[in-house]
């Protein structure tokens, strides 16, 4: 790959990526979330999103020839196979049927001569043979006759890999965090099979957060950060510590933005105490989190994607099934009940703006005033001695206008529909909604995801101001470590569904990096 550049609507995500990969080589690709790994792989695999967002610059050469992939199918034809993080399997089919999905060997018959190839009968014997061959090539034993839905997760992963291997033309296999769902033993087997593949002349790009795996199996390591390749070294010449440093290491300039942390007395009262929390949030499972939050601070929660940091607020606020104990202000909060949380002056700004955060089809007024109205009976006129609670349109309008001014929400009027706003402004509406509740404690989840730089700093400033002026405790969850370090007093790092450590914002990047990958599962 040479000089790959890609920008999403002016945001440069990838700059000057260059690397080469020889036949049968295994390349380990690592980097923090948002470093650009996935985007790079999407370009390589010709995914639709790339084309829809304006294509990319630079060239990809395969066997010395320039290749242009407009769809994944082009990439497949050129011999590139990819195993995604999400399974792409038909649950009711056997492993064999999945391995050969839409590439089933067929036999012509009388009917298909007339009505076309789709009425060819399937050649089950040949199917069995081919799948057995692919499984053998992979080197891990799985039951080809077993239905996917009754397989353990690891075997599903292997089925995916076998599917790619069953493609005759396969030259390059991309594995996107394949070991994330595997047990230690299965991961070991997978590494073994990667070695086997490379011996058969198949090149592999292996993306993972488990650095020791990279060292164990890869020929070379490419480390990415902020859309750049920061290191491209043979695996033998490096170590876990080196890679960690390269992954999170910042230049001196951005590091200096850290300070101005308030000198918070560490003996401040604990306002929320979380013990043994588990949350069943798909993709963000929390396994066992214990955490104390001090009154008046801004606590950051960071960590890699999928490690469970998002599950913490979602679980406490009752949006996903959760268990454990959470004590707030001396009282235990019952979980799985959003109303109880909101009643005890907790508020939550969800990371899922469009799905959870907003009433897209309603006006800004509704969006901002709704929770306060429902929870605290604000913006209601009581008629007939309180028997009827009538909506107070004037009050709603006033409060909306107040926050539109305070947060500089760009809109045509307070009656504009939420779906018509830009991402950044929608985020501000979500904040306004939470502020209108006048909570004592605020969870903010990924407040800057998908919004532009200007809005980003505005949102962060608003949060800080809210914290300082109203004395509200804020817990901010974000994938961007730098943002946390600029905003928060302390930062807890979640790894593998558990808190792996809490550091002051001024701690070094390496320390954070080590914590992030310490318990990755």
């Amino acid at each position: 790959m040479r000089s790959i550049k890609k920008d999403f609507f002016g945001n440069q995500v990838l700059t000057d990526i260059n690397f080469t990969l020889g036949e049968g080589e295994v390349l380990g690709l690592c980097g923090e979330n948002g470093a650009g790994k996935s985007t790079l792989m999407k370009i390589l695999f010709g995914m639709d999103v790339i084309r829809e967002t304006g294509g990319y610059e630079g060239d990809i050469f395969i066997n010395g020839e320039k290749a242009v992939f407009n769809t994944p199918f082009d990439a497949l034809k050129a011999g590139i196979g990819m195993v995604h993080q999400e399974f792409s399997l038909i649950p009711g089919f056997t492993a064999t049927e999945n391995i050969l999905l839409n590439r089933e060997p067929q036999r012509r018959n009388v009917v298909s001569q007339i009505f076309g190839d789709r009425l060819n009968t399937l050649d089950y014997k040949e199917m069995d043979r081919r799948s057995a061959e692919a499984i053998k090539k992979m080197g891990v034993e799985i039951d080809a006759k077993m239905v996917i839905s009754s397989m353990p997760v690891g075997h599903k992963q292997f089925t995916e890999i076998a599917r790619e291997l069953s493609k005759d033309q396969l030259k390059l296999l991309i594995l996107d965090e394949p070991t994330a769902v595997l047990t230690e033993k299965e991961a070991e087997a997978l590494l073994e099979s990667i070695r086997g593949m490379s011996a058969q002349g198949i090149s592999v790009i292996f993306i993972t957060h488990r650095l020791h795996e990279i060292l164990a199996v890869c020929d070379k390591v490419v480390v990415m950060r902020d859309g750049h390749v920061v290191r491209d070294v043979p695996a033998k010449e490096t170590s876990v510590d080196d890679i960690t440093r390269w992954m999170v290491g910042r230049d001196v300039q951005s590091g200096s933005a850290v300070p101005e942390a308030k000198a918070e007395p560490s003996d401040a009262k604990t306002i929320m105490s979380i013990k043994n929390l588990w949350v069943d949030m798909p993709g963000e499972t929390v396994r066992n989190v214990s955490l104390d939050v001090r009154e008046g601070e801004i606590l950051g929660i960071g960590g890699l994607a999928g490690q469970g940091k998002l599950g913490i607020p979602n679980g406490i606020m009752g949006l996903y099934e959760a268990g454990g104990t959470v004590v707030f202000d001396g009282q235990e909060i019952s979980l799985n009940n959003p109303r109880k949380c909101l009643d005890s002056s907790l508020a939550f700004v969800s990371e899922d703006r469009r799905g959870v955060g907003l009433l897209l089809d309603e006006t800004l007024e509704w969006n901002i005033a709704f929770p306060a109205m429902q929870i605290q009976d604000k913006f209601l006129k009581k008629l007939f001695g309180g028997a009827i609670k009538w909506r107070d349109e004037k009050g709603i309008h006033a409060v909306t206008q107040k926050y539109i001014d305070a947060l500089q929400i760009r809109c045509t009027s307070s009656k504009q529909k939420a779906k018509e706003l830009s991402g950044g402004n929608q985020q501000k509406v979500c904040l306004a909604k939470a502020f209108a509740l006048e909570p004592k404690f605020l969870f903010v989840s990924e407040p800057t995801r998908g919004i532009d730089v200007g809005a980003k700093s505005l949102v962060l400033e608003a949060l800080k101001k809210f914290n300082r002026e109203s004395g509200v405790t804020v817990v901010m969850i974000s994938s961007e470590l730098e943002e946390l370090r600029q905003t928060c007093d302390r930062i807890a790092i979640v790894s593998g569904g558990q808190v792996s450590g809490i550091l002051p914002a001024a701690a070094s990047s390496e320390e954070f990096g080590t914590l992030m990958i310490s318990q990755v599962v």
Binding site: M317, G318, L319, P338, R339, C341, L342, D343, F348, S350, D352, G355, V356, G357, L358, L359, L360, D361, E362, W366, F370, P371, M373, Q374, I375, D377, L380, I388, K389, W390, R391, K419
Partner: protein, 358 residues
């Protein structure tokens, strides 16, 4: 993509956008009918009287769609359930010996507990099957109507004016309400211009009654609970995150819809002058659903204005086509047009992508 953008830029396009193409066509057609009516020799005031009358019979039933659409339960194909509650109320009130206006009041009173009971059970069921409401609602309607067919035969009604003439067991298929609540609303404050030589009769009482219910509905949607209901329909996850008990609100909306269905059928009967039992309730759902959709509602958005516009357009279509079109082409195709329009409308609504909420 760019083509639709272009369309949006033209003024006609904007109109279509705001109003919805099918509604535009139907409005145009109705205006055409009104213009053609005098030309084809039918009496316009009579036509208008018919339309207003039919409007007053049906409007409450259409209003019964609103709460469930608001809370995201979709189009209420289960309206027959409410109708059954109304029928029970009506027949029992008569059975108890009430006559005249009192029988209407008692019919509503008696049907209320049934509506709450049916609606409660139905709502609890719908909460278990979120996302698949419409299909289940249709069949809940069917099975409860066929179950009540058995009950109409088995419940020991005694009043001779409503039981089968020969055997004395089981209710008749259809009976007149002349001595009971026929016309109690429509005759109240009725404006009759026939003495002036104009065939125009306006059932003010019925219209006022509908106006009252419509106002209450409008007011309800402006209260705290009503606001919550709209939010549940618009985005259930948002509502949940805002501390709303989504299931409870949905249940409330179903009970409300069912009760309105019960009142709606009683209003219909007092206008029509007859009670139809057995499989008749099944025919009540489609016109109501079609009317509110024609009024501009979608699968998860509806307002009182949609009800009024929709009922007027739909009933206008149903009452005007037979006379006008028959006069024009000497063939009565009104029934067929009614079927095609009302069902086409539902299909149109179903195939439109609903943004935001699912």
């Amino acid at each position: 993509m760019s083509k639709s953008e272009q369309l949006r830029q033209t003024r006609f396009g904007q109109l279509v956008d705001a109003f919805g193409l099918p509604r535009l066509i139907i409005t145009g057609f109705l205006i055409f009918l009104f213009i053609m009516a005098p030309i084809t020799g039918s009496d316009l005031p009579t036509q208008i009287t018919n339309v207003i009358n039919r409007f007053s019979w049906n409007a409450v039933l259409v209003l019964a769609m609103v709460p469930m659409i608001h809370s995201g339960c979709g189009l209420n194909f289960g309206v027959p359930l409410g109708v059954l509650a109304g029928l029970l109320g009506g027949t029992l009130a008569i059975e108890m010996g009430f006559t005249g206006p009192m029988s209407f009041v008692m019919a509503i009173v008696v049907s209320t507990p049934f509506a709450i009971l049916f609606g409660g059970g139905y709502g609890a069921l719908l909460n278990k099957i979120k996302g698949g409401e419409m299909m289940v609602a249709t069949y809940v309607g069917f099975s409860s109507v066929s179950f009540m067919c058995i009950m109409w035969l088995l419940i020991p009604y005694k009043n001779p004016s409503i039981v089968m003439a020969y055997t004395g067991v089981g209710l008749r298929n259809m009976f007149a309400l002349d001595s009971f609540y026929a016309g109690v609303l429509s005759k109240f404050l009725e404006i009759d211009l026939n003495p002036l030589g104009i065939n125009l009769v306006i059932p003010v009482g019925s219209l006022l009654f509908f106006a009252l219910l419509a106002f209450l509905m409008w007011a309800f949607l402006h209260t705290k609970t009503g606001t919550a209901m709209t939010a549940v329909g618009s985005n259930p996850t948002f509502a949940k995150a805002s501390g709303i008990n989504v299931d409870k609100i949905r249940l409330l909306s179903v009970v409300l819809s069912t009760w309105l269905g019960a009142v709606g059928i009683l209003v219909y009967q007092q206008g029509f002058g007859f009670v139809q039992l057995y499989t008749a309730p099944l025919n009540m759902a489609m016109p109501a659903v079609a009317a509110i959709l024609i009024g501009g509602a979608s699968v998860n958005k509806a307002s009182v204005a949609n009800v009024i516009i929709g009922t007027f357009l739909f009933q206008g279509l149903v009452t005007m086509t037979p006379t006008v079109i028959t006069a024009l082409i000497h063939t009565d195709v009104s029934e067929v047009i009614r079927i095609i329009v009302s069902n086409g409308m539902v299909i149109y609504a179903l195939t439109r992508k609903t943004e935001g909420a699912k």
